[in-house]
Amino acid sequence: MQQLTHLDRLEAESIHIMRETVAEAVKPVMLYSIGKDSAVMLHLAKKAFFPAPLPFPLLHVDTTWKFRDMYALRDKVAAEPGVELLVYKNPEAIERGINPFDHGPLHTDMWKTEGLKQALDKYAFDAAFGGARRDEEKSRAKERIFSFRDRNHRWDPKRQRPELWSLYNVRKNRGESMRVFPLSNWTELDVWQYVLREQIEIVPLYFAAERPTIERDGLILMVDDGRMRLEAGETVVSRKVRFRTLGCYPLSGAIESDAVTVEDIVAEMLASTTSERQGRAIDRDAGAASMEKKKQEGYF
């Protein structure tokens, strides 16, 4: 008999988590950030509920500063039959013109953390899927698959519910909500292997290509549009680069690479000596506890 492989088991667990959420939550939503993890999560959701269309909408909490390639894939996904995509932009951030150049950590706080909370409140979603994995970061390693949030969307690491077997306690009072992480037990390598096995479409930025870049604070940044502000002495140089994680383009560090296929990416990853979040300026704000603090404030 053909045994289930580790990818089969991860897939089955993720599907079980999604179905459990849909069965017990009042109004679920899937956070769609357009990255590879979102792509895998969306693919799993389609499998979980086949032949029915997705029983929840996708929500993109937009910062207006994503890469153009990301918006292109997002709009393509939104056009698929059976997919409903909601895009939310924090109106206050729009009004105040919040951007990564002038506002530092406020950029992430206003667009992402506040934007997310506003969107969840606006639509009264009581369960939100996120693509976070436990291997990404220390505080993630200790977060539950079903992560309870209070009325203010706060995470309290000391009051987490014990999570046994595959029994998830989805009960909550009005106004409280759940963040649900179906990819909790996946690693970066698992995600790439699954992308390869299932032929999942991902943003081309993950593959190496000649791109206009600058170097700043030890990061290689891509000049994706005319809004990129160059500082004195910076010049745009064409480099063959790709990205391990994607976010706002002025905050996402690229790596120099020749990887043009998923196989190449995996080969590079195995030879690499840095973790994938290393290229993210966003994690550096508050030292070791950066992500934990953001999560307590309501970030994913």
């Binding site: 008999m1 086949f50 200790k142 000391k158 519910r161 390869l196 080969a267 030879a271 070791a288």
Partner: protein, 626 residues
């Protein structure tokens, strides 16, 4: 590890890795963090930037001097790093050439039971650490017992810090001999001992020349061969707990769920439990086309040959080998909340995809996890483990935990706070309800009611002390008697002088108080009476318990709604003053909560109407129900 020369071949091979989940048991002193750090490092799960962060953290908070403190890698939260404690279960990942591993890493302090039980619930194996210098300790026994309790079948006895005993064989042999007798005692049949040094990496990933007397595999090689629970599940009878009904159109009705055990193919005969309806599998539907066969562990969607009733919570099973359904069980319970178990209270019980109301009896005994002694117990507190009987409000489909984790393990959820307060493992069903036959009565409750010319009911007055429950109930009874009704008023204070003289005002006693009153009220309705009760009855769960004792429509909840400040202002009996002065404990509204009824049949706002008006309103409502 460097990138393989042929990435295509390597990736193709990686597709077929197995998945093993295991738990690590032991404290930092046993060298656990060092060992895990070593495993992660050697299998290349720690990257340079993480190592750099670890080095800087080690200098700031570490306990290993200039060396890297791997404990900091394991203790994820800043709250923990600052206080040098570990508060939770962390999951780590690494892989060998053959398997992917998910490690549940649990800290070894006083919260140990709760965390270890959580981590062990999904584990195939336990990595049990013993310091070669200290030998088998009380905590080794405790960890082994908890592993066995949670159904872990394979223990890897990892004897650490061999470098500190000069790789001496006799130290290792002594630990093994000690453990052998203990393992036999508690019934751990499958275990294997490995001597290691996490610090130097001996026998961790590669066998070491430092211990030529050890001929077994290195730790990682052994983990590659530990049997997987999933393989055993496949050979058991088919069980599919239904999670969600997939009904996109009128023509398609699929039942989605993760197969708990066994295998299934189209045309197989199945039964839907608890109804017992028999039919066949029609299709196994996936986005990649229909399957000819599906096995334990897979999440599937199946369709059935006949249109039978089937919804979330039902279990689709092999027709010829179905599990039992029952409503009373004996189970081991592990209590995980600060608030202790309240025997008799209704909790949500989740087992598989079934959610029911369950009540737990007083434990038969509590287990001392250090000595394995059985102790007498009235309840269970945080990290308490005991054996108790459990009753559910309807039949659930189950199997003994020893046979099936999926259909034998459950959690209990507090109905008010929604916290997960306990987990449990079912031993067997109690057939008590079948063995104790109720006395058959020739004169039925219908006869009693007809003779009195009325429909029996319980008017359940609930509200704060001093809200006016007894006053209004008295007025209602007078009006009913004047109209020739047969009634009886059960008043809180009076009952406490007789029937419930032995009960105090703790939460547990208040629950028992209400249970007894509920039973008396039910007997009186059997006699055809209209019963009025006036009890604070502060907890929603107990009022619902009484509601369920009675036939539909006979429980009428009357919420006498008076704001606390007004009830306290009236203070007819002077009780609020005493409670405020600290002379009365557990007084509702002061230091004990009142849970407001969510949808009472009758809502009396005492600020808006007099007691007489309230009584008239209640009599009118009762008339509507005749």
């Amino acid at each position: 590890m460097n990138a393989p020369a042929d990435i295509h071949a390597w990736l193709a091979e990686q597709q077929y890795k197995e998945l093993l989940r295991f738990i690590t048991c032991g404290s930092v002193d046993d060298g656990k963090s060092t060992l895990i750090g070593r495993l992660l490092y050697e299998t290349k799960q720690i990257f340079d930037d993480q190592l750099a962060a670890l080095e800087s953290d080690s200098r700031r908070h570490g306990t290993q001097g200039q060396k890297i403190d791997y404990a900091l890698l394991v203790d994820g939260l800043s709250a923990e790093r600052e206080q040098g404690i570990t508060i939770d279960v962390a999951y780590r990942f690494f892989a060998s050439e053959k398997r992917k591993f998910i490690v549940a890493d649990t800290p070894g302090h006083e919260q140990y039971t709760r965390n270890m039980v959580t981590g062990a619930s999904t584990a195939d194996a336990a990595l049990l650490l013993v310091d070669a210098r200290k030998g088998v300790l009380t905590q080794t026994r405790r960890h082994s017992y908890l592993a066995k309790l949670m159904g872990i079948r394979h223990v890897v006895l990892t004897v650490t810090k061999m470098d500190l005993v000069d790789y001496d064989r006799s130290a290792f042999d002594a630990v093994v001999a000690d453990y052998r007798s203990f393992a036999e005692q508690i019934g751990i049949g499958d275990w294997h001992a490995i001597p290691v040094s996490g610090l130097n990496g001996d026998n961790v990933v590669r066998t070491s020349k430092t211990m030529p007397w050890y001929s077994g595999p290195a730790l990682l090689d052994h983990l590659d061969t530990v049997p997987l629970d999933a393989d055993a599940d496949v050979s058991r009878p088919f069980r599919l707990p239904v999670q969600w009904v997939n009904r996109p159109t009128q023509n398609f009705r699929g039942f989605a769920g993760q197969i708990a055990s066994g295998t299934i193919s189209p045309n197989a005969e199945i039964r839907v439990l608890p109804s017992g309806r028999l039919t066949r599998i029609d299709r196994i539907v996936t986005a990649d086309g229909d399957l000819k066969k599906a096995v334990a562990g897979q999440s599937v969607t199946i369709t059935l040959a006949d249109e039978v009733d089937c919804s979330r919570g039902d279990v689709i099973v092999a027709a010829g080998d179905p599990p039992q359904a029952a409503d009373q069980f004996e189970a081991t319970i592990v209590w995980m909340a600060e608030d202790e178990l309240l025997p008799g209270r209704g909790y949500w019980m989740k087992l598989g995809t079934q959610t029911v109301t369950a009540t737990v009896q007083h434990p038969k005994y509590e287990i001392n996890v250090n000595t394995l002694e059985h102790l007498a117990a009235q309840t269970l507190g945080l990290n308490g483990i005991g054996v108790a009987e459990i009753a559910t409000d309807r039949d659930i489909v189950f199997e003994a935990y020893d046979d099936s984790r999926e259909l034998g393990g459950f959690i209990l959820i507090d109905k008010l706070t929604n916290a997960t307060v306990a987990c449990g493992m079912i031993h067997f069903a109690l057939r008590r309800s079948l063995n104790i036959h109720r006395q058959h009565l020739d004169v039925s409750r219908e006869t009693h009611a007809q003779l009195k010319g009325q429909r029996p009911a319980v008017l359940w007055f609930t509200g704060l002390s001093g809200a006016g429950k007894s006053t209004i109930a008295n007025l209602v009874e007078k009006r009913l008697v004047a109209r020739g009704r047969h009634t009886f008023l059960l008043d809180g204070d009076n009952v406490r002088h007789g029937l419930n003289r032995d009960l105090g005002f703790t939460e547990a006693d208040r629950i028992e108080n209400i249970r007894r009153v509920g039973e008396v009220a039910r007997l009186m309705t059997d006699a055809g009476l209209i019963v009025l009760t006036a009890f604070i009855s502060p907890f929603r769960a107990e009022r619902e318990m009484v509601r369920k004792m009675l036939p539909d429509g006979e429980f009428i909840e009357v919420f006498v709604d008076t704001p606390l400040e007004d009830a306290e202002k009236r203070d007819v009996k002077g009780l609020y003053a005493k409670a405020r002065a600290g002379e009365l404990q557990n007084f509702t509204g002061i230091d004990s909560p009142y849970e407001t009824p969510e949808s009472p049949e009758i809502h009396i706002d005492t600020m808006a109407m007099s007691a007489d008006q309230a009584a008239d309103l209640i009599v009118q409502e009762l008339d509507k129900r005749r």
